[in-house]
Subunit: 90 residues, 2 copies
């Protein structure tokens, strides 16, 4: 009989890296002294999405990051100013 080969596609959620991004975002936001709500407003996105990013519940898209960076009025390389860990997909 034919095998039921379930081929599991591996998508990735890079928790380690996303944690560093979240940390950096919180830092910058704190420096600027603006709330998640205010940032969401300025970036024209939802508070829930900002919160999801900061609590590492989601794997944001590059466009989303671009919006945030613009709203924070900070260079892109500033938000990404951290060292990526070697990678483990746990």
């Amino acid at each position: 009989m034919e095998k039921n080969d379930i081929k599991p596609r591996k998508l990735i959620f890079d928790k380690e890296g996303l944690q560093l991004l979240a940390k950096r975002l919180k830092e910058i936001r704190a420096e600027k002294g603006i709330s998640q709500e205010e940032l969401a407003y300025r970036a024209e996105m939802t508070l829930s999405q900002i919160a999801r990013i900061e609590t590492v519940k989601t794997n944001p898209t590059v466009s989303t990051i671009f919006k945030i960076v613009r709203a924070l009025e900070v260079p892109l390389s500033d938000l990404f100013n951290f060292e990526l860990p070697p990678f483990s997909n746990e």
Copy 2:
């Protein structure tokens, strides 16, 4: 009668920014002299996805960018070493 209010959620595809990212990726990949296929292999992702990013057909996630950056053995801030245009959602 009740109105058929279609409320159009606005998602964003930041073509301008993504074009710059694509350009930077191509540049780095060229410098390193590796093909899309080789990069895909090293990053453990598909050739099609690399191509989609370089031709601005997709809005990649941060985790995807992390994989690419690791495979290119280049700092994160290097891939993002460009100036974001002010933003237009055409």
